[in-house]
């Protein structure tokens, strides 16, 4: 049993060395052999999920370093990392501008989404009037509406914020409304019977119930916030990651395009991850956990 483990480890290291070979065929074939071996060795699905990203980057590195695809079309991951480091003085101001718009826009979108849901909850006619329009906004591609909004509102921060709200408010509204609609009336009855004020019913029942729905809406919307900003920046701005990527694209600096895109993906994931953690924190009581 133990000797088998040793054999496997030696085999893994051996195959890894072969992937570094100058010969393209040896390198690619040993890479896939390595993948098969790893799948056999690593049975833990969580670890495998983590390994998958590293393997993907490594395959990318092999393909582009062997010039299977010209490097001006597909730069190596190591080169992209190099760009991120050497150009950080250019990237950082753009990134800050993008994040600023994203956070302000998303915050306002949450407020707007909740207020819209509250309005729709007040009476049915308001819902009937607002809902179809809200659905229309969601069927309009952001990429089509962004240039119009910029045309109307100029090149400042405002049009970008509007685009972010446009791209993200809907799931928040729908979930908030669902939360308001699914409050258990028995819970309210208990409080009504002891002549609780409306304020108390809201504080103890309606708000805590709806909160977990609002957070779920935020979680669903969160990856789209930064994409909204990016779309707006692509259409016209003076600073931001969208502009950085677009300029890099126009000058065929695909390494910079990749660098910018990867940074955006990372921040998008970060926002979604934080929202997910937030939701789990606020719904832990459902499992009865402390």
């Amino acid at each position: 049993m133990k000797s088998l483990k040793v054999v496997e480890i030696v085999l893994t290291v051996g195959l890894f060395t072969f992937t570094l070979s100058k010969s393209t065929i040896v390198s690619v074939v040993s890479f896939f052999a390595l993948v098969i071996l790893l799948v056999r060795l690593v049975r833990n699905s969580q670890i495998l999920k983590g390994v998958s990203f590293i393997l993907f980057l490594y395959l990318w590195q092999i393909i582009s370093s062997h010039k299977l695809v010209p490097s001006y079309i597909l730069p190596t991951p190591s080169k992209i990392l190099g760009i991120i480091i050497t150009q950080s003085n250019v990237i950082l101001p753009n990134l800050f501008a993008t994040l600023e718009v994203t956070f302000i826009g998303f915050f306002l979108s949450i407020l707007f989404g909740i207020i819209l849901a509250l309005l729709m909850h007040i009476t049915r006619p308001i819902e009937d009037l607002i809902y179809p329009i809200a659905v229309i906004t969601q069927s309009t591609p952001t990429i089509a509406i962004a240039p119009l909004i910029i045309l109307w509102l100029g090149f400042g921060m405002l049009p970008k914020i509007v685009v972010v709200i446009w791209a993200t408010f809907f799931p928040i509204t729908v979930n908030t409304l669902l939360g308001l609609r699914t409050v258990d009336t028995d819970m309210i009855d208990v409080l009504k019977a002891i002549s609780a004020k409306k304020r108390d019913i809201f504080k103890y029942v309606i708000f805590p119930h709806t909160l977990s729905y609002i957070i779920t809406g935020i979680e669903i919307s969160s990856p789209y916030a930064i994409l909204g900003t990016l779309t707006a920046e692509w259409m016209g701005t003076t600073v931001g990651m969208g502009l950085y990527i677009r300029r890099s694209f126009s000058s065929f600096r695909l390494d910079q395009v990749f660098a910018g895109t990867i940074i955006i993906i990372l921040f998008s994931l970060l926002m979604w991850g934080s929202a997910t953690i937030l939701r789990q924190r606020f719904t832990r009581y459902l499992g009865g956990e402390k």
């Binding site: 258990d184 028995d186 819970m187 009855d189 208990v190 409080l191 009504k192 019977a193 002891i194 002549s195 609780a196 004020k197 108390d200 103890y204 029942v205 805590p208 119930h209 977990s212 009581y285 459902l286 499992g287 009865g288 956990e289 402390k290």
Partner: protein
């Protein structure tokens, strides 16, 4: 003195007549059970008495807070047991320190000591109902309105809870209206049993239960108890045919 008077009450639930022309009175400090088959409008009647559903006719109920316990107890899942029990006190303006002290004092009597920081979803079915009952008592209401309070509790714990409630009645002088479909439970706890027809709910008969208080487990094995249970059962079965 009458605590509750229900006179010719009709209750509509979602547009349908659920309760038709029911009348009864509940003297102060007594325990009344409304019994009848499922779907006969018992819950609607209880909600009307609590002032939670509109009705036609006349209902006299005590002023001030009412201890209403819905069918599934419904503790608030986002608060700990302790916070759940404090809420009726907090709403009435009692300060947090005093509310906490009162709740903590009562927890052992309900077998809930050590569970104050648990969330409701972590409690067993029996514990959950006991907690909901305790919350109802903590409203300090003259009148408790209980909708199948022990429906989800196993037979063993159910009898314990009967005894507990009987005991509490000797200490605190509250009146109770309970909805149930368990005849033994109704006979054990009640002074008056109101039997309701199938649908829409109409008054079938009012039965006085004059077994002496305090009732104990021995009460259940007496002939008087069994004959009362049989009598009520007969009335309900008779109506189903």
């Amino acid at each position: 003195m009458q605590e509750v008077i229900v006179n010719g009450v009709k209750v509509y639930y979602e547009g349908f007549l659920a309760v038709n022309n029911v009348s009864f009175t509940l003297p102060k400090g007594s325990y009344l059970s409304i019994i009848g088959p499922s779907g006969c409008g018992k819950t609607s009647l209880l909600k009307a008495i609590a002032g939670l559903l509109p009705y036609e006719g006349y209902i006299l109920r005590p002023e001030g807070p009412l201890g209403y316990m819905p069918q599934k107890g419904v503790l608030l899942p986002w608060y700990t047991l302790l916070k759940n029990l404090e809420i009726p006190l907090l709403i009435r303006g009692i300060n947090e320190i005093e509310a906490r002290k009162r709740v903590l004092d009562l927890l052992p009597k309900f077998g809930l000591k050590g569970f104050e920081n648990h969330f409701p979803n972590a409690l067993s079915g029996g514990m959950y109902q006991r907690a909901a009952l305790l919350r109802t008592l903590l409203t300090d209401s003259e009148l408790l309105l209980l909708d199948e309070p022990f429906g989800a509790v196993d037979a063993l714990n159910r009898r314990k809870l009967w005894l507990y409630l009987e005991n509490m009645r000797q200490k605190f002088n509250f009146s109770t209206i309970m909805v149930t479909h368990d005849v033994e439970e109704a006979v054990f706890l009640s002074d008056i049993i109101v039997i309701i027809h199938k649908y829409p709910g109409e008054l079938k008969e009012i039965v006085q239960i004059d077994l002496p208080h305090p009732r104990t487990l021995q009460t259940i094995s007496t002939d008087e108890f069994s004959s009362k249970v049989e009598y009520v059962l007969e009335k309900i079965i008779e109506e189903n045919n």
